[in-house]
Symmetry: C2
Subunit: 156 residues, 2 copies
């Protein structure tokens, strides 16, 4: 290993899936009505944030893999069960498609979703960081509701 070979695509995917498991538990921790309705300071509901993450995850990997991008769209649903089902429906496809991203595509610059110009790796890292960020916001919603969020360090 040299400083040029720190994080592999496999490790990046594994880290993302670990975050996705924690985010799933965060979604689960919300009572259904609060998931879709509760907010602080005029922000979006946690459901809206999770639907953004779903709209971003597989479409990002598909775009980086293929170079073809559709306009960005949030996923849509109005029930917690369906939201969790949409979440789970991406888990296996992410594991399948991510390792097939042609290595050179990670450094090629795309206009992601027709809007955001950056290298493939940066687009993927943005999707992961965006998930961590909004999940952190969701933790405050849960605390404000008197609900203990899932432990941040537990990614099992």
């Amino acid at each position: 290993m040299t400083t040029e070979t720190l994080v592999s695509a496999d490790a990046l995917l594994e880290g993302w899936q670990a975050h996705r498991r924690l985010t799933r538990r965060t979604i689960e921790a919300f009572p259904e009505d609060k998931l879709f309705e509760f907010s602080i300071g005029g922000m979006r509901s946690f459901a809206a944030m999770a639907l953004e993450m779903i709209g971003m995850a597989m479409p990002t990997v598909e775009g980086v893999a293929s170079g073809r991008w559709a306009p960005f769209e949030h996923a849509k649903t109005e029930t917690k069960a369906e939201l969790l089902a949409l979440w789970d429906a991406q888990t296996a496809p992410l594991n399948e498609l991510f390792p097939k991203i042609p290595p050179a595509r990670f450094s090629e610059v795309d206009k992601a979703f027709g809007q955001w110009e950056m290298p493939g790796l940066t687009i993927i890292q943005y999707a992961i960081d965006n998930e961590i960020h909004h999940r952190g916001e969701g933790y405050v919603y849960l605390r404000a509701l008197g609900i203990e969020p899932p432990p941040f360090w537990d990614r099992a």
Copy 2:
């Protein structure tokens, strides 16, 4: 580039410093009294979270670089100016020490801060993810205070 050589140490450091710039702007956005006193749902103040990040950042890189770990300690201060000064005081040392981490250390397992057993890279990634997570919490505090947080996508 192969799938085994996706993210270099340089890129990891650069991404972290980009996050640190955004976190600094988040600290700056708080009025001084709210930085140290405001909280939601019994959580810590954003100052306490930022002092945890400072307590984690350089000591993590020092520990991964050297294999020597002191017990974890939050940084301490009671003013916004000093907090920002502590923040800034780590920026150049991080840039200096990070590239000197012996490459093999990223995969060696340590008991970080005498407590958390994981490979060097995982420890560093945890510190970065923890910063993104708590900064997201800080965004909700700012919104609850009627203050617009800095744009998440801007890492300049």
